[in-house]
Symmetry: C2
Subunit: 187 residues, 2 copies
């Protein structure tokens, strides 16, 4: 976890992830996280609404970057090309967070409430991508289908990425998942 | 709503949907639902764990039917054909429930917690279809992609079906959504 920056949010994140992983998410308190980071609870709440937010605070940046890329895709990009235009920047965002993502995946897999939160974030992402596609002039129907397909590809690739050791593999795994989707639907 | 059967569960469902639609889901109590159905709260709880279950009790039958169809698909069906093999029986199940589905959609659209529940049920359905595909010998990766694609197509078609008047249109709308997915991914 050496890549996290030594600022307060980074220290809190590192302390939280270490505690979640060691003693379980449910059994970890904000007071413990703050203490392990050498900070106060008050400081914790300046950065995170609650301990769950430590796991999900990255989703805003993910969505922001992805939507920027959709908007910047070439005018003649087809709906799926525009929907997946965020893959490069998303992979860049995640490459330094592989260790975080791996621990995070273990924590989320062990907690149904966190799994639900993860699903809702993904659905919210798909909904935003859909709107960005509609803004590009894509029909409502094609936009929903393309956005859902892009998020499914992302999600499948992400699940594979956290299960293996190569932090740089994410971009390639997204391409592979996209090819699998094409193969499955081409039949 | 004349299609609902006059048994206790049917009367409770009809009373609940009428109340949810008229005065809002949040403002409706189990006591009111039971009273309007001419039954006791005790009877209500024999059929439903809570008022939310009135909206989601059909998802088990949906999943059961769908999985049966996946298992019964021809041995040489490709992954997406097997994943979507449930479309016929699912459309049959829903055709008599159009009015219920339309009211239900309005209620769910107005309540974020219910929207989350709906997402989770859909994800659970996709996960079960994935397992059914793996049981047929489909690879894990192709199974995830095909199951997600099938559920996306179902979900998109469902959202269109509840927005229009033709109760028999669901099967056709599923075909149209599937064609849209093929078109989007073929480019």
């Amino acid at each position: 976890m050496s890549r996290w920056k030594p600022d307060a949010a980074g220290r809190l994140t590192q302390a939280a992830m270490t505690l979640f992983d060691r003693q379980g998410y449910e059994d970890t308190t904000v007071a413990e996280i703050a203490a392990d980071a050498g900070l106060t609870k008050r400081t914790f709440f300046r950065y995170f609404a609650d301990k769950r937010e430590v796991l999900f605070s990255g989703s805003k940046e993910l969505e922001h970057r992805w939507l920027e890329a959709v908007a910047a895709a070439p005018a003649d990009a087809d709906p799926l090309a525009a929907a997946t235009a965020g893959f490069d920047t998303v992979a860049e965002l995640f490459v330094e967070r592989h260790e975080f993502a791996r621990i995070r995946a273990r924590i989320i897999d062990s907690n149904p409430e966190l799994q639900e939160r993860e699903l809702i974030k993904l659905q919210s992402l798909a909904s935003s991508i859909k709107s960005a596609l509609v803004d590009r002039g894509v029909s409502h129907n094609a936009a929903i289908i393309a956005a859902q397909a892009a998020v499914t590809v992302f999600h499948v690739a992400f699940a594979r990425w956290v299960q293996q050791d190569d932090s740089a593999a994410f971009r390639r795994l997204m391409d592979e998942s996209l090819e699998e989707l094409r193969a499955v639907t081409a039949a």
